[in-house]
């Protein structure tokens, strides 16, 4: 039986970094550490993409300081991605960043058959614009509601409450969870979280797994993708990951 003239295609998996580039990120090597962590994670990310050919991993990045701008505007296959360093300076227009991402998650341009996207928000401080408005705009988008939303807090000045709002409902029960802001106190921890988000989470998001939905909407299982366990070395802050610099 000859194969018909139809187009088969893997499903797009959009991975978006939302990176705080405010002036405070210039202090204590945070900006360099973030650039390094993302650059070093790319080979692992590409390997995950190779292992999951049914998912087409496409990376973008937003930088926010005085304003929010696309750092990588076009969805870029991870194997083609070359990371250009972010630079710090300005305030923290996090709300504007969320609105930028909201527009990108509308359909179109999002494809209806896409896999749930992965959003990773990285910040060391507090938003200086209307974060609530930006979050409302973002969560109005169905794809944002379906997305895996992670947040990495750099240092002790990060606004954990804001980051939790971005992630979603606190799972409760205390302890560390991927559904709470991941607190990176130094470059090593940041690199491990970035590695985890860009490989283990991407691997989980690449696998099409159906889940149960309730009759009135919503899901019996919190979150759209079952998140893998966090790297064990960052579960306990007393683990030897180096001094807490930030």
């Amino acid at each position: 039986m000859p194969f018909p003239n139809v187009r088969l295609a893997s499903r797009p998996l959009h991975f978006l970094y939302l990176c705080d580039c405010s002036g405070s990120m210039a202090a204590q090597g945070k900006m360099q550490a973030l650039n390094q962590a993302i650059r070093q994670s790319l080979p692992g990310m590409a390997e995950v993409a190779r292992q999951n050919p049914e998912a087409r991993l496409l990376v973008r990045a937003v930088r926010f300081a005085d304003q929010a701008r696309w750092h990588i505007a076009e969805p870029t296959p991870v194997e083609e991605l070359q990371w250009r360093d972010l630079e710090a300076g300005g305030v923290t227009a996090m709300g504007e960043a969320l609105e930028l991402v909201a527009a990108a998650l509308a359909t179109p341009p999002m494809e209806e058959r896409a896999l749930p996207p992965v959003l990773v928000l990285i910040s060391d401080g507090q938003p200086t614009d209307d974060f609530e408005r930006g979050l409302r705009h973002l969560l109005r988008q169905p794809w944002a509601q379906k997305a895996v939303r992670l947040a990495i807090a750099l240092g002790h000045d990060a606004d954990l409450e804001v980051l939790q709002q971005f992630i979603g409902v606190d799972p409760g029960g205390g302890g560390r969870s991927a559904r709470r802001p991941l607190q990176a106190g130094n470059a090593t921890a940041l690199a491990q979280y970035i590695q985890w988000a860009s490989t283990a989470v991407v691997g989980a998001a690449s696998m099409p797994t159906s889940r149960v939905a309730g009759a009135g909407g919503g899901a019996y299982d919190a979150g759209s993708v079952p998140l893998p366990d966090l790297p064990p070395t960052v579960l306990d802050p007393t683990d030897d990951v180096g001094p807490l610099v930030w």
């Binding site: 187009r7 088969l8 696998m207 159906s210």
Partner: protein
């Protein structure tokens, strides 16, 4: 001969599952049976077990879902006559939307509990693998779709993210049914049999489609979501459906290879489908030489036996069917020779022992009742002679005016052997005395208009 070509079902594990050494969580199955009036029917079912970590028994859940659906539908179709008329169609539509889902839901819950108990016993004997601590239907969660094919109508019902496409003979394909996901339902979430309110979720996916007497050929493709999600666009999905519907009927291996490629180059998900073709009165399909009814692949196949009193199993097609009449003919005013198929049936029965003849007629007690009560007409049975020659013989032996066996020339024209004549006479006498058959159940059948 059925106006529906024997259906095909095929289910393949997804490329992603195969790479991980995991089995499929999909299931697909078809079955053939006869209605209470002896009309040929078919059932198609597909199911997709949920893939998340907590749904550890969803592969079993999808298999049990298909089995429960086919069994429940077969039981009801064998019990209730298909009948005719708008009120009857409405009753069947309600059955697809309400009563059948309730039955399937109940049967499935029983089946998964039995499976759980069996696994617990095996584990206690050291045979089973580690099992979750407590039973929950969630472990077996699955979607389910069912299509019912009769000579007079066809219908569908189910819940979850399956798709149903209709392809016309000229190639136009239309998506007839799909799951409409709520905006706030995250990710790959879908309706499921494991939900307590599952039976109520079927109605939006249920519909009945009457088949006009001169309905032209068309095909139906029922599939789990892995196929549609593997196509770049919905237009590609419909083109694929049209290709499958219109191409030369593929062998099992070819279809499996096609599905494997779809998953490998597409979504990576498990892929399952069931395919049916309505021949239509004007475009009898050419049957490939040696084309027997295909038993679906072992991965996703169930063949069920019909309930008591009706023939079951797979039919082997040997020739194209004769064209169906445009309308049910009325009985001729005067005596007329019985159709050739009825004469052939007489010869066949007369070759049996008297006990066998009696047993054969007793198995059709329902048809005798329906004729005597007026809910079935001899003309309807005679019109379906090519599908049910025995039913046509029974119809030809009945005099509606006297509500008993025909006498005189019509009786003589049947050329019955003594044993067959006696057995028919016995059946009609039993009916006139009220018989011993239980009254018909549930689905309301309209009284014939005077």
């Amino acid at each position: 001969m059925s106006p529906w070509q024997p259906a095909t079902a095929c289910s393949r594990p997804g490329a992603a599952h195969q790479r991980r050494g995991q089995g499929s969580q999909d299931w697909a199955a078809t079955t053939q049976l006869r209605s209470r009036e002896g009309l040929p029917l078919q059932l198609l079912a597909v199911a997709d077990g949920h893939g998340g970590r907590r749904y550890t028994r969803s592969a079993t859940g999808s298999r049990l879902a298909c089995e429960s659906a086919l069994a429940a539908a077969a039981a009801a179709l064998a019990e209730q006559p298909l009948g005719q008329g708008s009120a009857t169609l409405e009753a069947w539509r309600r059955w697809l939307a309400v009563e059948l889902p309730q039955q399937i839901q109940a049967d499935w819950l029983e089946a998964i509990e039995r499976d759980w108990e069996r696994r617990q016993r095996e584990e206690s004997q050291g045979e089973g693998q580690d099992e979750p601590a407590a039973f929950s239907p969630l472990l077996y969660g699955t979607t389910l779709a069912l299509v019912v094919l009769t000579p007079r109508w066809w219908g569908h019902t189910g819940l979850g993210d399956w798709d149903l496409v209709r392809v016309e003979v000229e190639g136009a394909a239309q998506l007839l049914s799909e799951e409409r996901a709520a905006a706030d339902v995250p990710g790959e979430a879908t309706a499921s049999l494991c939900l307590p309110e599952a039976a109520a979720l079927w109605a939006p996916r249920a519909a009945l489609h009457p088949l006009p007497a001169r309905q032209g050929s068309f095909s139906l493709l029922l599939s789990t979501d892995g196929i549609r999600k593997s196509c770049a666009t919905d237009a590609d999905f419909l083109a694929l459906a049209a290709h499958l519907a219109q191409g030369t009927a593929p062998g099992d291996a070819e279809l499996a290879e096609l599905l494997d490629r779809i998953s490998r180059e597409g979504s990576g998900d498990d892929v399952s489908l069931a395919l049916a073709h309505w021949r239509g009165p004007e475009h009898p399909l050419e049957r490939p030489p040696g084309q027997a009814v295909r038993a679906p692949l072992a991965v996703g196949v169930v063949a069920l036996a019909a309930t008591a009193g009706l023939a079951a199993g797979l039919l082997a097609l040997r020739r194209p069917p004769p064209p169906k009449p445009a309308a049910v003919p009325s009985l001729p005013a005067g005596p007329s020779p019985p159709p050739p198929l009825v004469r052939q049936e007489v010869q066949r029965l007369c070759g049996q022992s008297p006990a066998a003849i009696l047993g054969t007629l007793r198995s059709r007690r329902a048809q005798f009742e329906e004729l005597r009560s007026g809910r079935l007409t001899p003309a309807a049975l005679l019109a379906a002679a090519d599908e049910d020659p025995l039913g046509a013989l029974i119809g030809a032996s009945f005099d509606p005016a006297q509500r008993t066996m025909v006498q005189g020339t019509p009786r003589g024209g049947l050329r019955l052997c003594a044993a067959l004549e006696l057995a028919l006479q016995q059946q009609w006498l039993d009916q006139s005395r009220g018989g011993t058959h239980p009254p018909p159940a549930a689905v309301p059948i309209p009284e014939p208009t005077p």
